[in-house]
Amino acid sequence: MTPEDEYRRDLVSLQERILSLNPPDLASRFAAHCGISAGSYQQVTAVQEGMVAAVDGSNAVVVESGSFSVAAVRAAACGFSDGARVFRSLTPLRLATLGREAKDRSFADLYLECFGTEPETPVSDDDPDRAAAVLRDTLEYWVAQRTAERLSAGDLLVLDGALRVSHASHDPVLIRLMKTCAKRRVHLVAVTKRTAATWGDGFPLVPAALLLAASLSVRAPWFLPVEETLLDTTRFSQWKHGALVIVSLHPRSPLAFKIEVPAPADTAEVRRIVSLLAGWSDDGRVTGYPYPLLDAHRTARIRADANQQVKNDLMAGMGGAGLDLSRFRDLFGDYHGELERY
């Protein structure tokens, strides 16, 4: 077998696997598996009422050495009402070392700053990427809590992701956020851009729901509650607090999402939340996606120029402290960057 043959064989194998996830009768199999009919899809009317606020966070690695790295994180919230942005809040860029938690307490200190208590569980030094995500989530939950406290009854708070934490320390934080929203009668929803949820031994959930809606001629905006017991597996189910719903938010958009609303959720509550989401999903740039989330994402995002600025400031500070550039390069030199020049 030649090298070309090996590549072709893998390509064919890959195509077969993908095709196996999209059988011609996918829609009917999904309907039969989940017991879904046209009546299961709930159509809603898009409305813009009260305020819709969205929260998102961002993290980026600034410099990396072999043993540790420096990350920047921040989070933002944006509020919209009457077709326009009413507020936009942003945390400063926060910097943390990853891989030295025991010595540096980056996560523990940030958590303490945000919530006034030590985290119940530390982050692991083994997986810097996950540690950065946990730091970002910490800021994000804190911003969400602050934002929930400024909203009024009937307003909607939109989170990016799920009503399920991925680190134990955040579980009490999410519970507190949900309690705050419930107490203030603020609607809460989490929107997941990409989900790993599958059914029937590996069929992706959201594309199947979208396909079935199309085959049943259900016009968006609609929502489809899905029993989690029908899914193959559930990640972090011990920290799960939401009920799963599939939504499609605009009639001219091919998009559908998995959202989670606080469980248990009655249909009227879900209908109201989806109506409010749909009311802000008609922006021409991301038709079918809630615009406030896009705005929060763009506000929080740490772009390459901001990342470079942090790096420059760090180098300048180190230089001022007596560390010359060559020593800095010894610590954080990256041969990937060198290689990219060629």
Binding site: R85, R88, S89, T91, P92, R146, D283, R285
Partner: protein, 534 residues
């Protein structure tokens, strides 16, 4: 404690300079803001204590989005939060800057980055009053509006350095010329010759858009001393408007004048050249009394021995054509007679710095060109001779501006027989003779002539070739004002002239209103004088 602060929803990124060139300024404004091409803007540089002025030349939609096609996706109806990321980029042409002492200077430096950009007020143009001249033609225009307090006035001292008035039909050339004439009548700084074959300048012709009768130069009563009218019309008209009869005598005419009026074969042109110095009266007598024949008997029979000797080499056919043309000239121009000419009076009026209006309605293009040719040649010769008597910098030198309407007829690239006008264009300014070239087809004017013009009045040209020709020859850079020239409305113009530091967009006065103001102004000043005396 972590901070979470609301960021300001105001947008400081707009209306501040972000350009990177001394040649073009750029800045962003909100996408829904209204600015117009031609608007003049003020850029305040507090760091250098300079105030820059720039003219809007282009407006472009731009955004901060990486997706260049964000605005043209199917079904895109609604957009939120555009104000920060979607904006208009304004490109502006630097006009110059005013320094701390109020002196205007050319834009040889750039404003400090992020200098604030604002709409100026009339007082920001106070410096312009120092550089404006004495021949008022309108008020300064900025975008869609005008700055009524900023009067645009040409310098009389540069008028004899030639001027071009360019506009397509209906853009307001005649109105401009009337306003210009009225201001010349008021200023009386040079003589202005205007041949009017349509009979519209003396008393107006037809009605205006509002139904009121149009007015003429004679209605500028307060400036009447600055006007001399020579007309072919009847006595009643002459009395009403204090006009003189127009006459040219045979001796005013020279053979080269024929070149302008008829197409000539090489042989005929040679005849004209041979007869160039011969007096007009002798030419008329000779050709009227001679019947040419192929045998050459005419040469022996004619009493004009010298002419016969010079012309006997030509065929009877060539000479007969010349004879017919001279007869046509004498027959079709009722103002042409054997003796008695208005030319001395015309020259005197010009020397007294009056506007001399030659009113020859209904006589046709040949008569107009004939009069123009005769007068232009006479004026140029007179000034050329007089120049020998005074130095180039003589303060008392007499200056004349000769207006040529539809100038492409006599100043085109390929036209022959227009030597006198070319001489005026190329050499006239040494002798105090300037041309006012009026045309709707500047691309058909000889570029060498355009290059001699120091004042350009551009009033809307739809043809790209015309605009390119004008932009390529003006002393100031008009190329970046192409969009504005295209979008000029009737009665609007861009004036580029010596003495005014940048091309000025101008709303030309409506002649009827301007004359009313001028008459009122004069009456008012008399009243004021009486009051102070008693």
């Amino acid at each position: 404690m972590v901070n979470l602060n609301d960021t300001s929803l105001s947008d400081p990124s707009k209306y501040r300079l972000i350009g990177d060139s001394v040649l073009t300024y750029r800045f962003a404004i909100p996408y829904q803001e209204t600015l117009y091409v031609g608007d003049i803007l003020k850029i305040t540089d507090t760091a250098k204590d300079l105030t820059f002025l720039a003219k809007v030349t282009d407006l472009l939609h731009e955004s901060n989005f990486e997706d260049e096609k964000w605005d043209r996706r199917p079904h895109t109806e609604q957009f939120y939060g555009l104000s920060e990321d979607v904006y208009l980029v304004v490109e502006a042409l630097p006009l110059g800057f005013v320094d701390g002492k109020g002196t205007f200077r050319r834009p040889r430096t750039v404003p400090t980055k992020f200098s604030r950009v604002e709409l100026p007020e009339a007082r920001d143009f106070a410096f312009l009053q120092q550089v404006m001249g004495d021949i008022q033609v309108g008020v300064m225009k900025t975008g869609q509006g005008v700055l009524r307090d900023v009067r645009v006035a040409l310098h009389s001292r540069v008028m004899p350095q030639h001027m071009g008035v360019f506009a397509t039909t209906g853009m307001g050339k005649s109105n401009f010329m009337k306003v210009f004439c009225a201001s010349c009548m008021k200023a009386r700084q040079f003589g202005l010759l205007l041949v009017d074959p349509h009979g519209e300048y003396v008393a107006g012709k037809g009605v205006l858009a509002d139904g009121q009768p149009s007015r003429g130069l004679a209605h500028y009563q307060a400036g009447r001393d600055g006007l001399s009218i020579f007309t072919i019309r009847d006595e009643a008209f002459r009395k009403t408007y204090s006009a003189h009869s127009l006459f040219l005598e045979y001796d005013d005419f020279r053979a080269p004048d024929l070149m302008l009026l008829f197409d000539h074969s090489p042989a005929q042109r040679e005849v004209v050249e041979i007869l160039e110095d011969t007096r007009g009266s002798e030419l008329v007598r000779f050709f009227r009394t001679t019947e040419f024949d192929d045998q050459g008997a005419w040469a022996a029979a004619t009493p004009h021995r010298d002419l016969a000797r010079r012309l006997q080499q030509f065929t009877a056919g060539t000479l007969s054509v010349m004879k017919r043309r001279i007869e046509i000239l004498a027959r079709n121009n009722p103002f042409l007679r054997e003796k008695g000419s208005s030319v001395p009076e015309i020259l005197k009026a010009l020397a007294e710095h009056r506007v001399v209006l030659i009113d020859i309605p209904n006589l046709g293009e040949r008569s107009e060109l004939f009069v123009l040719s005769v007068l232009a040649r006479t004026i140029l010769n007179r000034h050329r001779n007089e120049a020998r008597g005074w130095g180039m910098e003589d303060a008392d030198r007499r200056e004349v501006l000769i207006t040529i309407e539809e100038a492409q007829r006599v100043l085109g690239s390929g036209s022959t027989g227009t030597q006198v006008f070319r001489e005026c264009a190329m050499e006239g300014r040494k002798f105090g003779v300037g041309l006012c070239v009026v045309t709707q087809q500047p691309k058909n004017i000889d570029p060498r002539v355009l290059a001699q013009l120091n004042t350009y009045v551009v009033m809307g040209l739809s043809d790209r070739g015309d605009r390119d020709m004008v932009a390529g020859h003006a002393k100031q850079d008009l190329s970046r004002m192409d969009t504005e020239i295209q979008t000029l409305e009737q009665g609007e113009g861009i004036i580029s002239t010596l003495g005014i530091p940048f091309p000025v967009s101008t709303r030309i006065h409506l002649f009827e209103e301007y004359v009313q103001d001028l008459n009122r102004e004069t009456r008012k000043s008399i009243g004021e004088g009486l009051e102070s005396r008693f």
